[in-house]
Point group: C2
Chain length 250, copies 2
């Protein structure tokens, strides 16, 4: 078997998320599988590194799929051309390569970086409206920078996910959590690199940080949110358009 690795970018605005599900043709996975299956004339299932939600974007999603050696003579370059020629303009495969037989896009992923992007101008930048969440009221970035430090390291993120499972651990490690403030543009990037992320975790942490930036909650309240292990005590779920899967590492 050949094991093919893809690096994918998408503007998630028009899609209901990465993951394929019955009766929904508006998923990224479906769009890719559909094109690749037609190209190879056989049903292909692809494995993605991260399951981005409805409306969430990716600058670097990684995926892989297997094809029988005998069946296919396409080179990686030919696959890249074919796939992009048949995908809509808001999804693109930027790299196709041969991977080791055992390579698995989800299990082998050692870290992912998500960025939550905010437009903090008084008047929204119309060219960024699909990619940044507009917060009109001036955010206290210094307070947000203090608060984000509480999220680094290994924690139980039960309070920061909207899907609870009694059997599964909510312990994850955030290797780095940083805020980049582009003062001239009034843009704020909240960036998390970690070994894994729970459902809605980045959006709930970002919503909590936004509430801190709006002085609706205290910087010092963050440890209490962790210890409560209760979704309701954390901040709101920031909207999906600001979220981007920026990097997947192996």
């Amino acid at each position: 078997m050949r094991n093919i690795k893809l690096i994918i970018q998408y503007d998630g605005s028009r899609y209901s998320g990465w993951q394929r599900r019955p009766g929904d043709e508006r998923t990224i996975q479906y769009k890719l599988e559909n094109v690749i299956s037609r190209m190879l004339d056989t049903n292909i299932e692809i494995i993605g590194a991260g399951r981005t939600d409805r409306g969430v974007h990716a600058m670097m999603q990684t995926a892989n799929f297997h094809i029988p050696e005998s069946a296919v003579t396409f080179t990686c370059g030919e696959m890249l051309e074919y796939i992009n020629a048949h995908l809509p303009s808001d999804i693109a495969v930027i790299s196709v390569s041969e991977a080791d037989e055992r390579f698995h896009a989800r299990f082998n992923c050692i870290s992912k970086t998500y960025v939550y992007r905010i437009d903090n101008r008084r008047v929204q930048d119309v060219f960024q409206s699909r990619f940044r969440t507009h917060i009109q009221e001036k955010l206290d970035v210094a307070a947000m920078k203090k608060a984000i430090k509480y999220f680094e390291g290994e924690h139980d993120f039960t309070s920061f996910t909207s899907l609870k499972s009694k059997n599964k651990s909510a312990v994850r490690t955030i290797y780095s959590a940083e805020i980049d403030y582009m003062e001239e543009d009034s843009f704020i990037d909240i960036r998390f690199c970690g070994n894994g992320f729970l459902y809605n975790m980045v959006r709930i942490i970002s919503g909590t940080l936004i509430e801190i930036g709006l002085h609706k909650r205290e910087v010092e309240g963050v440890p209490g949110i962790f210890s409560a292990k209760e979704r309701a005590v954390a901040g709101y779920t920031a909207p999906p358009e600001g979220l981007v899967l920026e990097k997947t590492e192996y």
Copy 2:
């Protein structure tokens, strides 16, 4: 009468252009007039500096409208808030100010700058697909840079417009015409500053330059296109998504 000046930005992707026309609610002018007329409870007509076409964007469109002194107590700041709160997220008014009684957004405009933006990557940048025209084949930027110099100065642009009028002059002056090549991103910006532009003029000049960049025509062929005074001898009309009205000056 108060004369109110607006500076407007829009992502033109979803619109049929700037100019209002009967039965079409998908024009930028209609959207603005509709919101402003509701705000002031009277029918308002606005005057725009430039009539951008279907799908064309603006980073700085200027417009003005008159309102009876007596009827209105809104400050400029209040109008800015109201208008933006009621516009869709792809149109924004970034400035509202009081103008001299005689200020006219179209007649007083001394220069406009249009940029035609190209994504010259092998695989399209999905986040720029609404704002840059994707040309997959590598363009010869050096040839385009030579060719663009022919467009500077005063010329009869009859060959570079798709709407001919026997009675109106096609003579326009281009103050500067430049190509900015962002090598790292494979992005190319073709920028024209001039005293006026004919219908489709920037898109036909850009299409001609793209054909030169693809070696489908010669740099030295440009003077012959001017002298032919015939639309058919110029290049194709490059698609609207790459075009932006960048600046309007008074």
